[in-house]
């Protein structure tokens, strides 16, 4: 592993200093030292740093993983996209295909881990991939993404300034933002008596007896525990303290009495009436209006996110895998999606998740009828990222402890 000169300021000494400060656990440090130890230049190799808003990371560049040169013509081959299902409007694909005279093919994955596994196996060569912020560091270190040549992506200027230079990838060297979201609580105003706003501690709605059997948490081992921590006033939702993990596990299990259910179909469970209260992603709340049965108006939907902004927040991004066959075309596609008109149409007509584009004014979204007035809380604002709590990567040991506690809850023990 050769280090780019720009990255040498993160030497091992500083890395150890940071990890001692509690940013990275010692065990993970040894894992990575072991990982890097095999290479011929040993200790000077790049090491993984766990990025967080308090520890912004400039991702390392590698000599053997260069970015594409400027001024190249886009390839004429088929653009192959690797994405979550339902996360891209087919019309956008058609529009791009027409404009560039190419074919666009989309393949779906169900979890980021599954996608990372496939991409790292080298068996597939997609041109565009949609990673999450907690995966960027490892994908870069494993040389699975190629650095972006931002000259091809002038539309990055349309993005909120803070996300043009985000903490997980300073200077947008490998990724550009795609969508933003928060995790709140969705509910049916026509079915429940007390909304989260009626509680001093809104998270307590999960324990409201009136919603027994109609209450869902997200089937996500990071998001669901985060709400249990927030209920207890713990804002470090990336805590690896065994006591905190035991606390969220206990809180989750106390919901068995409520016949708690888990699902990631929040965008249909609420409108179809399977759920009255559902831990929910903001994009699902906006998308839920398209799944309401006839005769039920959008005012039946509600979405709560902490008014002070101290809640779970995140953003997903777009990247170009290292082995992409059509890297230039891929860059153009990234730029195409950051175009305000395309980004808006993708959001408002299909996805429901919101691109962080400066020109998408929250008030206009409501005025245009894209977002019903009562779901205004589901609109993400740039300022939400000041106080919002992202789910950052855990250390390997921390991840194992989180997953085993989550598995215990999911087992119904």
């Amino acid at each position: 592993m050769t280090l780019h000169p720009r990255e040498s300021r993160y030497g091992r000494r500083e890395f150890i200093g940071r990890s001692a400060a509690g940013i990275v656990g010692l065990s993970s440090l040894s894992t990575f030292l072991a990982a890097c130890g095999g290479s011929d230049n040993g200790g000077s190799a790049a090491e993984l740093q766990i990025a967080s808003p308090g520890n912004p990371v400039t991702q390392p560049l590698f000599d053997d993983n260069p970015m594409i040169a400027s001024g190249l013509e886009p390839e004429s081959g088929t653009l192959r996209i690797y994405n979550w299902n339902g996360y891209l409007d087919p019309k956008i694909k058609k529009g791009f295909a027409k404009e560039y005279g190419v074919k666009v093919e989309e393949t779906f994955f169900t979890t980021t881990d599954e996608a990372v596994q496939k991409i790292s196996s080298g068996a597939v060569d997609y041109d565009v991939f949609f990673p999450t912020q907690d995966r960027v560091g490892r994908l870069v270190l494993g040389k699975r993404l190629q650095p972006l040549n931002l000259e091809y992506i002038p539309n990055l200027k349309n993005v909120w300034p803070s996300l043009q230079d985000p903490w997980y990838d300073k200077g947008s060297q490998y990724t550009v933002p795609y969508m933003t979201w928060t995790t709140g609580i969705g509910y049916r105003t026509d079915k429940i008596e007390k909304t989260p706003l009626d509680y001093a501690n809104p998270y307590e709605i999960y324990w409201d007896e009136a919603n027994r059997g109609k209450m869902f948490l997200l089937d996500d081992g990071r998001d669901a525990p985060a709400h249990m921590l927030l209920k207890n006033g713990i804002t470090n939702i990336n805590t690896e303290d065994p006591e905190d993990i035991a606390l969220w596990e206990k809180e989750l299990k106390s919901l068995y009495d409520m016949n708690v259910k888990v699902s990631t179909d929040d965008y249909t469970n609420i409108p179809e009436g399977k759920a009255w209260v559902h831990q929910m992603w903001s994009g699902s709340a906006i998308g839920a209006q398209w799944y309401l049965p006839e005769g039920v108006g959008t005012d039946a939907l509600g979405f709560w996110f902490p008014a002070d902004g101290v809640g779970t927040i995140g953003s997903d991004m777009m990247a170009v895998p290292k082995d992409a066959q059509n890297p230039v075309l891929a860059h153009h596609f990234l730029d195409y999606l950051l175009d305000v008109k395309n980004g808006y149409s993708n959001f408002a007509n299909y996805v429901g998740y919101q691109p962080p584009l400066t020109k998408l004014d929250p008030d206009t979204l409501v005025a245009d009828g894209v977002v019903p007035k009562n779901l205004k809380t589901a609109i993400v604002r740039e300022s939400d990222f000041d106080k919002g709590l992202p789910l950052t990567e855990l250390t390997p040991d921390g991840q194992v402890n989180w997953q085993n506690a989550w598995a215990e809850f999911r087992a119904g023990v």
């Binding site: 881990d113 059997g213 016949n259 997953q403 989550w406 087992a411 023990v413």
Partner: protein, 309 residues
């Protein structure tokens, strides 16, 4: 099956090779699509992780195998109250109840079609095979529609007067999951039962009646023992996939208290850095099912012997 070899003399060796050659596609198929993938699962379970990407790194060399994942799984499986033990016991009982119910439903249906189908037999058979044309997932989704608050099940039960108000069948009940399993798998049980019952020589039953057996005695002493292999085959055919089922509880319940061993496997395989644990769980489940399968082979062989087959 050894008939051709027995029939010929000097030519036998060549003919034997010919018949053995016919097995080749099957053998190749098994190796490529069963043994090889199984070895991969084993190597993932006994392997490690890519240090950077934390993706599973299968260990192909048996000398380097790392048993940590198996130790974790077995420890968790034999600790009362631990996650794997709880789900495993739950899965076992769900499958046991669902299989028993399926048998109770499938046997009379198969018996009726085989014995009393008459000229309707063809039509009834089509009716039995029809569910195979609809995917399992679609049938479960239909089941959700039937069971939801304003679904037909509630409407009918209220109309008949059994219920006063709609009941939330989908609020995480074990019964919904078990009935869902029965509903989903019962066609797979009817068919082998029918095929076997249809072949039972009626003269055997007539002989039993001639010798003074009542219809029930004839059934108990002749039909039932004769159909034991079919019952076992039906049980195996539906119990094996039920053990690995995870979408039925996901769709019909979603509650952690009704999750099955398949859900835990799914949880560990789908994400995180404990894919070897998920793979080890798969292997342990397979060993358990192999034991059941072994009993099936043993029992059918014994039944054949007893029938003088």
């Amino acid at each position: 099956m050894s008939e051709p070899g027995r029939r010929v003399g000097a030519d036998g060796g060549r003919e034997n090779r010919f018949w053995a050659g016919l097995a080749l596609p099957g053998v190749v198929w098994l190796c490529v699509f069963f043994l090889l993938p199984f070895y991969v699962i084993l190597c993932v379970a006994l392997g490690s992780l890519d240090p950077i990407l934390l993706t599973p790194a299968p260990e192909w060399n048996p000398l380097q195998w790392n048993t940590a994942a198996f130790e974790f799984v077995l420890d968790n499986l034999f600790t009362p109250g631990a996650a794997f033990e709880t789900v495993f016991v739950r899965t076992f009982f769900y499958v046991l109840i669902a299989t028993t119910l399926s048998l109770l439903i499938a046997y009379p249906v198969a018996y009726y079609v085989a014995r009393y189908g008459g000229r309707w037999k063809g039509l009834l058979l089509v009716g039995l095979i029809a569910p195979f044309f609809i995917s399992y997932l679609m049938r479960m989704l239909a089941w959700i529609n039937l069971l939801q608050d304003d679904g037909w099940v509630n409407s009918v039960l209220i109309w008949v007067g059994i219920l006063d108000a709609p009941r939330n069948w989908l609020d995480g009940r074990a019964s919904s999951v078990i009935l869902g399993l029965v509903y989903g798998y019962v066609p797979f049980m009817i068919l082998p039962l029918y095929a076997f019952l249809d072949r039972i020589d009626r003269s055997l039953l007539e002989a039993a009646r001639d010798l003074g057996a009542s219809p029930f005695q004839a059934f108990r002493l002749v039909t039932l023992p004769l159909s034991t292999p079919a019952i076992l085959a039906g049980v195996v055919i539906i119990a094996l996939p039920m053990f690995g089922d995870y979408y039925t509880p996901d769709l019909l319940s979603g509650a952690p208290q009704t999750s099955l061993i398949g859900n835990q496997i799914n949880l560990y395989i789908r994400g995180g850095q404990q894919v070897p644990v998920g793979a080890a769980l798969v292997v342990v489940l397979m060993v358990f099912l192999t034991v059941l399968m072994g009993y099936y082979l043993f029992a059918t062989a014994r039944a054949q012997r007893r029938l003088g087959g």
